[in-house]
Symmetry: C2
């Protein structure tokens, strides 16, 4: 029997009515003859409430207990969803992470799935159960403690089940109806993509288009799980949403698939660093250890044995970065004159697998920004992505300009 994984996010199960709507959607697929694995999030707001209780109780909380507490929300939804399906005469059973079991590492609050044995669920399907409703976001460690997979982890749960059960597709129901060429709140020309390649989605996800958890896309790519992102509020149809799939499935595509942005970036510049072999490691090693996620890095040409080193990181990590670099200076690990933090920058990126075979994307991008008088502070590129750091006040203008320049409103 073909298997389908359907994942419903927090807003799609926000209350009993929404759960009923989701169950109707599931029923349609049951009728189609699928064996269904449903992955549910906590009702929206629930997990935040639990996280708040933990934070209020303990600043430096034990992540084991954090996991035990915050995983409850998904358990509730799973049971309620099973009951709702039963009311529609569908045989359904709920599963908590430890019951499946979803085996994870013991890195509490940010565990990774190691294996999902299929035996227990398969036995229940063999017993006539039509729908397995699995609590997302959670698993169990080798020591039998409850783990969680980090925020957005239910997406990863869904993809992991789709891989383990060789599902025909993994449908991610959320509050947006697909992946857009850019944020529709910024450009009214934004167009919904019918398909997008895993690699593109990965760049978009990590760049701030927060529809899917990055790890879920990585996992989908590795196991070639066809992911569909769609709204739980749109009418069922095969063309609904956006299919995230292997490059080979996408016949035609624009050179650039989308324009992403990230608002809360900071640009940090170490002025007059003594340049010597190993200086990059001496700077970025301590930063990484103190939990600063360095993104872009630019090193100026060295003059008289000294250079300027610029990097970007999220604005809320600036203090941590400053402290870490000051310590490195105090202990003599590095030597620099001054550290300048610019917290009013934003990152804008164009992403597309078509770039691999099309020259001139960078030129088009820089010209378009220049035409609007937007100054580029830092540039980084990868095979399928070009990112620039610009003044934050130009961010929306930059996104609109690039969307126009690459004619993303038009289908290839």
């Amino acid at each position: 029997m073909p298997c389908l994984v359907m994942k419903f996010g927090g807003t799609s199960v926000a209350n009993l009515d929404r759960i009923r709507q989701a169950a109707e959607r599931i029923k349609l697929e049951v009728i189609q003859g699928y064996q269904i694995i449903v992955i549910v999030s906590a009702m929206s707001g629930k997990t935040n409430e639990l996280v708040e209780w933990v934070n209020e109780t303990s600043n430096l909380y034990d992540t084991q207990e954090y996991d035990a507490v915050v995983s409850s929300g998904e358990n509730i939804t799973a049971g309620i969803m099973a009951l709702t399906l039963q009311e529609m005469d569908i045989s359904a059973q709920s599963w908590q992470g430890w019951q499946v079991p979803v085996q994870t590492t013991d890195m509490h609050s940010n565990a990774r799935i190691e294996e999902i044995p299929t035996k227990n669920l398969e036995a229940s399907f063999a017993n006539g159960v039509q729908v397995a409703v699995v609590a997302g976001f959670q698993g169990v460690s080798p020591r039998g403690r409850i783990t969680t997979l980090g925020r957005g982890g239910s997406d990863t749960t869904a993809v992991a089940f789709a891989a383990a059960f060789k599902a025909e597709r993994c449908d991610i129901f959320t509050d947006v109806d697909g992946i857009y060429t850019t944020d529709p709140r910024i450009s009214t020309d934004a167009r919904k993509l019918e398909k997008i390649a895993f690699e593109e989605m990965l760049e978009l996800a990590s760049l701030g288009a927060k529809v899917l958890q990055t790890r879920s896309v990585e996992l989908a790519m590795r196991y070639n799980v066809r992911l569909r992102v769609l709204s739980s509020f749109e009418k069922p149809s095969d063309s609904a949403g956006t299919l995230v799939c292997a490059e080979e499935e996408i016949m035609e595509s624009n050179v650039v698939a989308g324009v992403a942005y990230s608002r809360d970036e900071a640009k940090m510049t170490l002025i007059s660093v003594a340049d010597r072999p190993g200086i990059a490691a001496a700077i970025f090693g301590p930063l990484s250890k103190s939990g600063v996620n360095v993104d872009m890095i630019v090193q100026n040409i060295s003059e008289d044995g000294r250079t300027d080193m610029t990097f970007s990181c999220p604005t809320d990590q600036v203090l941590r970065a400053e402290k870490s670099l000051q310590t490195a200076k105090d202990t003599g690990t590095i030597n620099y004159h001054n550290l300048v933090a610019d917290e009013s920058v934003a990152k804008v990126s164009v992403v597309g697998i078509g770039m691999r075979s099309h020259a001139g994307v960078a030129a088009t991008m820089f010209e378009a920004l220049h035409g609007e008088g937007i100054n580029i502070k830092v540039i980084t590129t990868s095979e399928i992505k070009i990112s620039v750091l610009i003044e934050r006040k130009y961010m929306e203008l930059a996104v609109q300009t690039l969307h126009d320049a690459f004619e993303l409103e038009k289908v290839a």
Copy 2:
């Protein structure tokens, strides 16, 4: 190391502040050198909310899924309590039912504890954990599904742990400061008992003094677990609360320990039943099967082969009882003229192990009620209890009258 079980009910863990107060109380016992097992309920109101969601979703819900949903409340409290204790530099770890594991029957929503293996908790104590915080009210079935123990089940969890770990005592923290000679809301003379025998508590619990779940008292009696009922809001002291213990521990006691009542009783009378051997079974078998909890039974003297049969049951089961008896009449199993339901009665009982050796308790009781003009409709007695059914409007007067008649305000 001596072991202590401490159970905190819903009002004692109603919010983060209350949980902190409870943790302070636990800390005092940790300092005393006890190995502590804490049993927690859901924050007050939480379980009701979950039950409501289940009821709203499904009228005839699957009790397996009911259990999966409603057990979440306790899990949250357990994790938060462990974190709170850790903040006080106490090494604590939370345990959900399946992790211990609390092995139960698979009678979902009303399971019974079959065994509590001590291995896992003992290993954690050996690793330096000082407090095991266990989610009450729940367990796991032989099939690996979550079970719950029925309302008030956390008391039973506590006593079962106390028995399994041979605890020195099982302290039940609640919102009342002990067991009283009667309900203080009805009689201002009500006196808190320092000690009460298991048998007496059992009669009081099942008679409507809802401080402890009946099953927990049964279990405590069977395993001779010393139970202490006390308020989580009163100052710690060895004489606090009421100790529920074996008769032998109670040196002196009043003949009557307390006066209990149950407001919502109904008196049902089958008029002119054809009397024949087996008629009682023919009547009460079907009632039991349809879930009617018959309490008192009185059969009138038979005349001309016919008799009247009177019994009492909770008012909310009257419809069910009527339906069941009508069916039995229709199918010819029993034969009666009329069924009369009186839904305006209440039950008042006096309980005391001293009755065994003291004659005249019944006489004193009946005279006192007669003195106030209260008519007795039905009487039942056991070795340590006399119960009467009276008109509900006299219930409070009857309780006060009996409390006075047996001088319960005075210590023996």
